[in-house]
């Protein structure tokens, strides 16, 4: 099946086959990253603009790294260096970037829905690098990619996502991907941060950590986002940690082969004990590394590349 999408906006709209295509393409790129010469010429002559209007370290660097490995030229703009601080609208900023003959825009924005909005305005592909509390599709793709590396097929696997779900775009993208891949997802956290509305997305909601973690094969921790929530969502970070922080005792409730994931940035001692974050079950840094290959796959496919051409490293059509 040829890849037909130009934009990557959400995982909600992707089919299972498309998710698997991205994973397969990422796996091929991951092999090229193990070579001594890591660059492939796939996007030579293309210019990708990373428009990051909200702070980011990992995602932004990984997108830049991915673009460079594909031999594209990369320009990164952030909220302070772009004209948005002078009152320019997103439409105008993006149209100017297009007029400067960029071939693709990677957008990180605090407003949910803004990548969809840009995709309707621009002729060039738009890649969502995180929009508010909505979606972070490449994170969901790299997380499920990492899970598959450790667990094989995800069908029937028990995955727990623990923490601030309400404000999490990572949780939403993972929910859509995991549902399509057949995993059984349970969301856990304080009732104020895991509202019952989420059951409508086809997942379980629990506020009991012990029963939720029992036999789970993946636990994905999410950062408590102080910057997004009012003080009324829970009493204190200390109480959060005492109720929901992952420590050694609680980790023992997991399936013995379970992996521990976190999209970062981690707050050590808040949602996860330091020794677990650095322990052998932690795949946190593997997630980061996989982020390059997955984003290479997304940039490549949305530029018109086809999965079967990855080894040839040929130019996109």
């Amino acid at each position: 099946m040829p890849w037909t999408r130009r934009h990557l906006l959400t995982l909600e709209e992707l089919s299972l086959a498309e998710i698997e295509q991205i994973h397969a393409t990422a796996a091929a790129f991951k092999r090229t990253l193990a070579r001594s010469v890591k660059k492939v010429p796939a996007l030579r002559g293309k210019t990708i603009v990373n428009l990051f209007l909200e702070p980011s370290t990992r995602t932004r660097t990984a997108f830049a790294m991915a673009a460079m490995r594909l031999s594209a030229d990369v320009i990164s703009l952030d909220g302070t260096s772009s004209s948005t601080t002078k009152g320019e609208t997103l439409r105008d900023t993006a149209q100017n970037i297009q007029a400067l003959q960029a071939d693709m825009i990677v957008l990180r924005h605090s407003a949910a829905g803004s990548p969809l909005y840009l995709s309707k305005i621009l002729d060039i592909p738009v890649i969502n690098a995180g929009d508010g509390a909505h979606e972070h599709p490449t994170q969901g793709l790299l997380d499920t990619f990492t899970m598959k590396e450790h667990l094989g097929r995800l069908k029937g696997r028990k995955v727990v996502i623990l923490g601030d779900i309400l404000f999490s775009r990572v949780a939403r993208s993972n929910i859509y991907a995991l549902n399509k891949l057949g995993a059984a997802v349970t969301l856990v956290g304080p009732s104020t941060l895991v509202p019952h509305w989420f059951t409508d997305l086809g997942v379980k909601v629990s506020h009991d950590l012990k029963s939720a973690l029992a036999d789970a094969e993946v636990v994905m921790l999410l950062r408590i986002q102080h910057e997004r929530q009012a003080s009324s969502h829970f009493p204190s970070l200390g109480e959060y940690t005492s109720m929901f922080g992952l420590n050694k005792t609680r980790a023992s409730w997991l399936n013995p082969k379970a992996i521990i994931m976190h999209p970062g940035p981690i707050n050590r001692g808040v949602e996860i004990d330091s020794e677990l974050a650095d322990g052998e079950r932690s795949v946190i840094l593997q997630q980061v590394t996989n982020g390059i290959a997955v984003r290479m796959a997304v940039l490549y496919l949305c530029s018109g590349g086809q999965p079967e051409n990855v080894y040839a490293g040929s130019d996109p059509a």
Partner: protein, 433 residues
């Protein structure tokens, strides 16, 4: 003053219980029972076969943005949009720039209305100084300046103490208080209804509880003080049930519903289209049904549009950053006919009532009737003609309408204000004043 003889119309006038095919006579700006043979000779005859003739529609909730936000709308353009929609009397909200919290600004609105308007534009004044919710505005001078009601519009008064005093003080002047019911502490940063859809879209939710709490507060304060409170654009099922119980006890409370809350639900927001962003937000199908039931049994008294113009560049933004509000005047009648008459089997006379006599009664306005001696404010519309609404070629200065490009059924043909035809053949034909 011209003499008009409207012939063979289906005349619907809930105020006089008239609902029959017949003629309507207008002389010297008033409705008259008949015309002499000589007057008929010289009268302009309007053949209204197949049309409904009803009192000019009344909208007690519009934003005409003047003074201060005339890039969005003016009294000239807003009143033309009103005339094109069959409205002859509108009540404009005080959230202008500066806000209408003093007699001088009200006088400005009167002057602009006299100079520019083609329909009757009645001002409201603020409840609090600067619409800031801290100190009472001068109700006495506002009343003398001619406001018909008091409201802080989108800035619902949060202090119960201040609202209580506002009720008591307004009662002395026999001025109704109109309230936009929203507990601000529950809606920080909120941009749409809270629920499954906001969860999916990752947008901040506005729980209906924030409306219900203030509706309940207002029922309590109205009952306690005896003041007349009018609750604007009710959007929540729970709020309708609070109002229903309050009305059973005889509380002096009235309420309105907008065409958009009748027509749409939050499901429209799937593509983050800012033309569905308004405050209060679109809610669930069950809320929508409750609003319709509320209009049916009189729990909700009338339809009001909350006509809220914004320029295309203001609306064309990320969903979080776009302003709330949509146009309403040019589509309200067709939307109400579509939802209430065709979908929910309301009688045509009932919908006319909800857009004429009832809103006039809520604020005690001399409008909404075709009784002999009344001002000759008349709307002639075709109840089943289908037309395509193009917001960009409409009469409002803005075009922020979710109905843009849609086919609507029910079309205003002619609007008469004080005996003068102001809208005819799709054009504004004469200034009223």
């Amino acid at each position: 003053m011209s003499t008009l003889w409207i012939r063979h119309a289906r005349v619907i006038d809930p105020a006089t219980r008239r609902n029959a095919v017949g003629d309507l006579f207008i002389r010297d700006g008033k409705i008259v029972p008949s015309l002499s043979a000589a007057a008929r000779q010289s009268a302009r005859q309007i053949d209204a076969r197949g049309l409904v003739a009803c009192p000019g529609l009344v909208d007690i909730h519009v934003h005409f943005r003047e003074p201060g936000q005339t890039h969005k709308e003016t009294i000239a353009t807003g009143s033309r949009a009103a005339a094109a929609g069959g409205f002859t009397t509108v009540v404009c909200m005080p959230n202008t720039s500066p806000v209408a919290d003093n007699a001088g600004t009200i006088q400005y609105i009167h002057d602009a209305t006299r100079r520019d308007a083609v329909v009757k534009v009645l001002p409201t004044g603020c409840i609090t100084v600067g619409q800031k919710g801290a100190a009472l505005a001068p109700f006495g001078s506002l009343k003398r300046a001619g406001v018909v009601a008091l409201t802080d519009d989108g800035d619902c008064v949060q202090s119960n103490e201040l609202m209580r005093r506002a009720c008591e003080y307004a009662k002395m002047f026999d001025l109704p208080i109109m309230d936009h019911c929203q507990d601000a502490s529950l809606t920080q940063g909120a941009v749409m209804n809270e629920g499954v859809v906001s969860t999916r879209l990752g947008l901040r939710g506005w729980p209906h509880a924030a409306e219900d709490i203030i509706v309940a507060r207002n029922v309590i304060l109205s009952e306690y003080t005896g003041a007349h409170l009018h609750l604007q654009h009710i959007s929540s099922k729970y709020a309708v049930s609070i109002l229903r119980r309050a009305k059973t006890r005889g509380v002096r409370i009235t309420a309105e519903a907008t065409p958009h809350h009748l027509a749409f639900t939050e499901e429209e927001l799937g593509t983050y289209d800012t033309h569905f962003k308004m405050n209060p937000p679109l809610r669930t199908a069950s809320d929508r049904r409750a609003i319709i039931a509320g209009l049916r049994d009189g729990t909700l008294d009338c339809i009001a549009t909350d006509h809220a113009p914004h320029t295309d560049y203001e609306k064309d933004k990320e969903f979080d950053y776009a302003p709330n509000g949509i146009l309403g005047l040019e589509t309200a009648l067709a939307v109400a006919l579509g939802v209430l008459v065709r979908q929910h089997k309301f009688k045509l006379t009932h919908v006319v009532d909800l857009m004429t006599r009832q809103p006039a009664r809520v604020l005690g306005l001399p409008a909404g009737s075709l009784a002999a001696g009344s001002a000759a404010d008349v709307c002639l519309f075709h109840p089943t003609e289908t037309w395509r609404y193009d917001a960009k070629s409409g009469f409002s200065k803005s075009s922020n309408s979710p109905w843009h490009g849609r086919n609507l059924t029910g079309r205003v043909k002619l609007t008469i204000v004080d005996g003068r035809v102001v809208f005819e053949h799709g054009q504004i034909v004469a200034p009223a004043h």
